[in-house]
């Protein structure tokens, strides 16, 4: 870490924010970026948690933590030391799958273990708890809120679930909480409320009975209603989490890959965050090939004396690859410049180079963290 790096935009965010939300399409390296950000913050002395839902097994292996534990797990100092670092802060990770998140929420919200067990063993719950749209996001939001309230962490880095729409994780809880509103559920329960509600309820029952058949329809409705009763408690949390996310303690980052489509995505993301008044702080252009510093063009002079004809023929082809790499570097520099001008005031754009994947992934993570920290710092020409 250079002294310069400590003043870069990423260092600022990691020092001052309480939550960093990494968004982006699938396959852009969002999970790695999130883990690297958390690592960097722990090196700056903060107590950090990286929370990721539906992660690849690889991240769990890299960090040496189990998947789906009931609580966050500390990344062991030995493992960090093996990668040559000893962060003064603390680095925890919580790698969750959706089913476990939902089960945890049920256990916590139920009135006692018996009620929890009744839910968890319900045949509808068993089949569909993973498929309730927005369930991951809803419960993740709740877990996040709880962790921040408890004050165990100075900073939580949230890796959002893969989705074409980068902000789906924010919109899905809204959809679910609108469903889990008991006022709405009264409409599903027969013989309650005003004449108007009863008329609506009759229509709904007719629809559900035609769709599911009468018997399953009533089982389904009573399940949803009791489920709603359970989860409606969370609605307040989701609302206060939303206002927390729009506040000055939060920072949103968009992670993108070096393709022209990223520019379109960045525009879309910027509009969306503005609409939802979320603090967009930067674009991270991952796997950028822009940096060619210190690499030589493979010229004839570099070939050893007495190199054979194969080496000479090979050199000509290597030169073509080198020329292509220079062209790619230029393209990625232009893309970064475009992202920068799109970013405007109060928002940064930085590039992180593609790092060779070594056998030791923790070292790769450290290298990504360093690249993130130094990425936004302008080099003197």
């Amino acid at each position: 870490m250079t002294s310069n790096a400590a003043h870069g935009p990423i260092a600022e965010i990691l020092k001052n924010q309480r939550i960093v939300v990494c968004c982006g399409a699938g396959g852009v390296g969002k999970t790695t970026t999130s883990a690297a950000l958390a690592l960097a913050a722990s090196r700056a002395g903060r107590r950090v948690l990286v929370l990721t839902i539906d992660p690849s097994r690889r991240l769990a292996e890299t960090l040496g933590v189990s998947q789906n534990p009931p609580e966050p797990v500390a990344v062991s100092p030995e493992r960090l030391a093996a990668a040559g670092i000893a962060p003064p802060g603390a680095l925890d990770a919580w790698l969750l799958d959706a089913k476990l998140v939902a089960d945890n929420a049920v256990r916590r919200l139920a009135r006692g273990p018996e009620e929890a067990e009744r839910f968890l063993s319900n045949r509808i719950y068993g089949q569909v708890s993973q498929m309730v749209a927005g369930m991951h996001e809803y419960t993740a939001m709740e877990a996040l809120h709880r962790l921040l309230l408890e004050g165990r962490y100075d900073l939580v880095v949230l890796d959002t679930p893969p989705s074409r729409n980068a902000l789906d994780f924010l919109e899905a809880p809204g959809r679910l909480s609108r469903l889990l509103d008991m006022k709405i559920f009264k409409a599903f329960l027969p013989k309650q409320g005003s004449l108007l509600t009863r008329a609506a309820s009759a229509l709904i029952h007719r629809v559900l009975a035609s769709v599911f058949g009468g018997e399953f329809a009533s089982e389904f409705v009573s399940f949803l209603a009791s489920f709603a009763g359970l989860f409606t408690i969370l609605n307040g949390d989701v609302a206060s989490m939303r206002s927390f996310l729009s506040g000055s303690d939060a920072a949103f980052l968009l992670v993108c890959s070096p393709t022209p489509a990223s520019l379109v995505e960045a525009c879309f993301f910027q509009e969306k965050t503005r609409e939802l008044s979320l603090p967009l702080r930067g674009f991270v252009l991952n796997r950028s090939r822009a940096c060619v510093d210190g690499r030589l063009f493979p010229t004839e002079e570099l070939l050893a004396q007495g190199a054979g004809p194969e080496a000479r023929a090979g050199l000509a082809k290597l030169q073509q690859l080198a020329t292509a790499e220079l062209a790619a570097a230029e393209r990625d520099r232009v893309l970064l410049a475009d992202l920068r001008s799109r970013a405007g005031e109060g928002c940064f754009a930085l590039a992180v180079p593609e790092l060779p994947q070594g056998a030791d992934d923790m070292r790769t993570l450290v290298a990504v963290a360093d690249a993130l920290l130094s990425g936004g710092v302008e080099k003197s020409p």
Binding site: G26, G27, V28, S56, R58, Q127, V128, M131, V132, A133, P162, S163, R164, N165, D168, E171, R175, R178, L179, I184, F185, A187, F188, A200, L203, I204, V207, S210, V211, F212, G213, F216, L224, S257, T259, P260, A261, F268, E271, G294, R295, L296, F297, L302, A304, A307, G308, E310, A311, A313, G314, L315, K317, L318, Q320, L321, A322, A324, E325, P356
Partner: protein
């Protein structure tokens, strides 16, 4: 590659993790099928309020047409698969009245339920796809002979392919069950449907591809094969490679990254091949641009199974170079 088998299906799901070029492959398949005179429909699983569609962009549009299929290119029609559209179609069928379905969908409570309730969105998408598969011309043959679906990220893909089995366990009788069984009649029949998975010759994409193939097997979705996209052209002969080794080890060179990438690529292709018995087809790395889908559709016709790319014996010292193959 002989595309006859793939194009003889009624429905091909194009799956794969984000960023591997799934939309490009879907668009290329559509163009190639249309060139052979197939009546093609391309679609993607859309999301209400989605700003842009990568698939539509290959055809110079921002979004795919909604609700009704509309022409997108010569011989290619398109429609977005939307949960809401499918849900309304389904309700109209079971309630035998479009007006009642419309009234039901304007009930606030029901709308909220189908927006967030378990499996309702998947069911909507599934039913819209079924409706498209059912559609026939007055003469009786299918309106769209081939329906190509650009599928969402892995988790959502498996929610969709696993939907019938999951719901049938809960609701074994009634209109939903009937629709799902009819859907299974198409989707679980290897003669009529197949999932093709797109991946890249890189570590993480290959691992995730193998996991996805496992998932498809668990959900009884027939797998057609794997497209390995963006395989870089390897210009080097073995002798040239050897001749350069010392130079590359001695200096930090431009071009070395590409040189090493070619080796990693061959290694990942072997790992993929060892992990699946399905056909693995290599697609070349092409220059991006407005004609990318067309270029790839032409490359598809001449694409080779990966074993042919890998099995090319490395020529002995002094033999004629086998440059020009994708991976010598």
């Amino acid at each position: 590659m002989d595309l006859t088998g793939l194009f003889s299906k009624r429905c091909v799901l194009v799956t794969g993790k984000g960023g591997v070029g799934r939309s490009t492959v879907t668009a290329a398949l559509a163009l190639a099928a249309a060139r052979r005179g197939r009546r093609v429909l391309v679609s993607e699983v859309g999301d209400e309020g989605q700003g842009h569609s990568p698939l539509a962009r290959h055809f110079g549009r921002e979004r795919l047409p909604e609700v009704r299929p509309a022409p997108l290119a010569p011989g290619v029609e398109a429609v977005e698969l939307l949960a809401r559209v499918g849900q309304e179609l389904f309700l109209a069928t079971v309630l035998h009245a479009a007006t009642l379905a419309h009234a039901a969908m304007s009930s606030e409570a029901l709308r909220r339920m189908v927006n967030a309730g378990p499996s309702f969105r998947e069911m909507g998408v599934y039913f819209q796809l079924l409706t498209l598969l059912r559609a026939r011309r007055p003469e009786g043959d299918p309106l769209h002979e081939l329906i190509l679906v650009d599928m969402p990220a892995t988790g959502h893909t498996l929610s969709l392919t696993g939907l019938p089995e999951l719901l049938l366990r809960l609701v074994p009788r009634g209109p939903i069950a009937e629709a799902l069984r009819e859907g299974q009649g198409y989707m679980n029949d290897p003669a009529q449907a197949a999932a093709w998975t797109v991946t890249l010759p890189e570590t993480l994409p290959v691992s995730e591809c193998l996991e996805l193939l496992d998932g498809l097997r668990r959900t009884a979705m027939p797998a057609g094969g794997v497209f390995v996209n963006r395989i870089p052209r390897d210009p080097f002969t073995a002798a040239e490679r050897e001749g350069l080794a010392a130079l590359i080890a001695r200096h930090r060179l431009l071009g070395a990254e590409g040189f090493h990438r070619l080796e990693g690529c061959a290694c990942e292709l072997r790992r993929l091949q060892a992990g699946t018995a399905l056909p693995v087809i290599g697609l070349p790395e092409l220059e991006g641009g407005p004609s990318l889908a067309t270029d790839l559709s032409l490359a598809l016709e001449g694409a080779d199974p990966v074993e042919e790319l890998l099995a090319v014996p490395r020529p002995a010292r002094g033999a004629a170079p086998a440059a020009g193959s994708l991976l010598a």
